[in-house]
């Protein structure tokens, strides 16, 4: 049964508003109005408690609105939302394979163009589907300049198949295919700097975001939705099962990743850095590592290798802070401190 009326109501309520920065809106919108809450992904799915990916996808859908269709790569998000005959999606959604979501989305977008429709196409993939196996298809999608927002839910391993390492797994993290053992300190390679590779395609917009900063994430989604062309957002999404932290700590863990500098929140437009979220007071990497079982082998104080790897990770975080200029001046409303102090609807800026 089709319901055009309902869709046009939803479009009016949640639809994409083209950004008009020069025109001051006649009546200032309330924070709630600024952050419409379309439920594109509803509860009842099968994600683990505290799943960062489930939260991230819900936030993305809220901001993307109803006039979208989704191509979803194989992975946790796909599996936990659609156990036949149930589906948690309230938008048209298709899963084809692990490595082709960007290409399937390209076809969907071409179909929309051919039919003169404006529905925005979204493509979703995990870090495995994005950094690794679907990387070529993603590059093709960006190069061909499809009007698609690609969101990578980065939980830093192949979670759906039981926590195997990906090229996004951080250095020294223990996974089932990079286990820490007598001779190994977890993953031996670095986390791939995917964002730089994306940016090298000179796409209009590429950004990193985190579930710890939902208002920032949603602002980035809304911004990307307003762009006609390929856009990319990678969302740091802790996985309690794979990272081995308490389910209640998802937000805390994600926040520490940003605050220590290991997962910088940045925005790149046409290949150049256009914005970063400054860190109010950078925390030691150790604060981030110690709450996760995947780094437990780095916490052995008497093991010199553990200390070396901790130093290595700290150096990587310091490098990020220096490279992206993340060390903010104190009390910036948009820094990690300000952005964390949110009510629903956005940062609490200037007395609001």
């Amino acid at each position: 049964m089709t319901d055009e009326t309902r869709l046009s109501e939803l479009r009016a309520k949640f639809g994409r508003v083209p950004p008009a920065p020069d025109e001051p809106s006649p009546k200032p919108l309330t924070l709630r109005e600024k952050q419409p809450r379309f439920e594109g992904l509803v509860s009842g799915h099968r994600a683990c408690q505290g799943c960062g990916e489930a939260l991230a996808a819900r936030l993305v859908m809220e901001s993307a609105g109803p006039d979208v269709m989704v191509a979803n790569a194989t992975g946790c998000l796909e599996v936990f939302t659609t156990p036949w005959p149930q589906s948690a999606w309230h938008v048209p959604w298709i899963h084809s394979l692990f490595e082709n979501a960007p290409a399937v989305a390209s076809g969907m977008e071409a179909a929309m163009k051919a039919q003169g429709k404006k529905t925005k196409v979204l493509a979703f993939g995990g870090d495995g589907g994005t950094y690794d196996i679907g990387f070529q298809a993603l590059s093709g999608m960006l190069e061909r300049y499809h009007n698609i927002l690609y969101v990578c839910y980065d939980n830093e391993a192949y979670m759906n198949t039981g926590i195997q390492r990906s090229s996004s797994t951080p250095h020294a993290a223990s996974t089932t295919t990079s286990p820490a053992g007598k001779d190994r300190m977890g993953k031996r390679h670095l986390k791939k700097d995917l964002l730089s590779i994306i940016a090298a395609h000179h796409v209009p917009y590429a950004a990193s975001a985190s579930v710890a900063f939902p208002a920032d994430l949603q602002r980035k989604v809304r911004y990307a939705m307003g762009i006609e062309g390929p856009t990319f957002i990678v969302v740091h999404s802790p996985c309690p099962l794979g990272w081995k932290h308490a389910s209640a700590l998802t937000i805390e863990v994600a926040r520490r990743a940003v605050e220590c500098g290991l997962f910088p929140l940045v925005e790149l437009e046409r290949g150049s850095l256009s914005n970063v979220m400054p860190i109010r007071s950078p925390r030691p990497v150790r604060d981030y590592l110690e709450v996760q079982g995947r780094f437990a082998h780095l916490m052995k104080d008497k093991d010199p290798r553990a200390e070396k790897e901790r130093d290595h990770l700290q150096a990587l975080a310091d490098y990020n802070i220096a490279t992206f200029g993340l060390a903010g001046a104190a009390q910036d409303a948009n820094d990690t401190g300000g952005a964390a102090a949110v009510g629903r609807g956005g940062p609490l800026v200037g007395g609001m």
Binding site: D3, L7, W84, H95, S96, N100, V104, S106, G107, G140
Partner: protein, 391 residues
């Protein structure tokens, strides 16, 4: 209008007549001229389609999957390594029951590397759940391509139109090109009931537990079986419009009273026709069975077609190492319960583009008189070229 056209150009024109909304393809010999000609038609404004120039066959198949799922008439073409690179997507397209059309310019599969024609590529995806139709000449390839769009729409299944690489794709032939009006009046607009649509959001490609999987496979098999009469009917409809049939599911030619039958697919049928015309007097007459629909397999029609035959020569243009012929094995299985079934002589010929001369007709006919002949052979193999231990 009758014109002398290269096979690939004719196919590109036929596709253009069907007005696909989205075309995605990646070049590979011997399919290249099809993509190039389509690109040229688009560049010259003679074809209005979203042409997605992908970075691989894997993406080509994925793009047309997404496009058709989103309600667009979609087309792609490939061959050989491209078919194999697409394989995972091809199974997915069929499993999702997405109607679209693909040309396979049949070519051998590497290694050893060969750019020449055999059926190793489409055979490798035999069980993907696609309809597979084989064409004897370029006129059939044109007509079958147009029919394929209608078959896909009516059956909600993907259709692979197989045409022999080089032998057809690169050969000039007089083609009767249908007019735009003819095709427009004959091919209904693409209207996919299960399309992705924000006014009626549905989820596709979900995780299915053992509780439902068998039912879904059964339904797919049933849909393929139901496609048999549809393929036949659409060919009749096309014949009613144009006066040209491409042979429905299969076609019986030659001498109906002959005791020997030869079954083949694709351009080999043309060679056998010519061979019979030249050599029937010496070698004896045969009934030629031209198998057009390889999937779904027309078992009933085949049993009818072989009635009265004492010998049936089955030609394979591919090989299943360790078993033998693929078509031959299937034919044997389908005829197994016939009371007076013919003796089957299964031969692979023309592998990797080995030329199939007209004289093959006489050689094949002679071979059935050899009582010691194996049930399967690579007929045109030259064992002298092999080291003794490889023979």
């Amino acid at each position: 209008m009758r014109e002398a056209l290269e096979g690939s150009l004719a196919i590109a024109r036929a596709v253009a007549l069907c007005k696909p909304d989205v075309v995605a393809a990646y070049p590979i010999t011997p399919q290249t001229h099809i993509v190039e000609n389509l690109s040229r038609l688009v560049a010259e404004g003679e074809m209005h389609t979203e042409f997605v120039s992908v970075e691989s066959e894997f993406s080509a198949a994925s793009v047309v999957l997404g496009a058709a799922a989103a309600g667009a008439r979609a087309y792609t073409a490939t061959a050989s390594q491209g078919v194999l690179l697409m394989a995972e997507v091809l199974f997915n397209i069929a499993g999702l029951r997405i109607p679209l059309v693909m040309t396979v310019a049949n070519r051998a599969v590497s290694a050893p590397l060969s750019i020449w024609n055999d059926h190793g590529d489409s055979m490798a995806v035999r069980d993907s759940g696609w309809i597979q139709l084989h064409c004897v000449d370029n006129q059939e390839a044109v007509d079958t391509t147009i029919q394929a769009f209608r078959i896909a729409q009516e059956t909600e299944l993907p259709v692979m139109v197989c045409m022999d690489g080089f032998v057809l794709t690169h050969t000039m032939e007089i083609i009767d090109m249908p007019s735009q009006e003819e095709v427009a009046g004959w091919l209904p607009p693409f209207d996919f009931a299960r399309k992705l649509d924000p006014t009626d959001p549905k989820s596709f490609g979900m995780l299915v537990t053992p509780e439902y999987f068998a039912e879904i496979r059964h339904a797919h098999h049933a849909a393929m079986t139901r496609a048999l009469p549809v393929i036949d009917q659409i060919d009749r409809d096309w014949a009613a419009l144009t006066g040209r049939s491409s042979g429905g599911l299969l076609e019986v030619e030659g001498d109906p009273a002959a005791e020997v039958g030869i079954l083949a697919m694709g351009s080999t049928v043309g060679t056998l026709r010519a061979g019979m015309a030249a050599h029937a007097e010496a070698a004896g007459p045969a009934r030629i069975i031209k198998l057009r629909a390889f999937r779904p397999f027309p078992a009933e029609a085949l049993r009818e077609a072989v009635k009265g035959l004492k010998h049936l020569i089955v030609i394979d243009r591919a090989i299943s190492p360790g078993l033998g012929g693929i078509v031959g094995t299937e034919v044997a299985a389908v005829l197994a319960d016939m009371a007076d079934r013919p003796r089957i002589h299964n031969h692979a010929i023309g592998l990797g583009g080995r030329d199939i001369p007209e004289t093959i007709y006489a050689d094949l006919m002679a071979a059935i008189r050899d009582p010691d002949a194996p049930a399967f052979s690579v007929f045109d193999v030259d064992l002298e070229k092999l080291a003794p231990e490889d023979r």
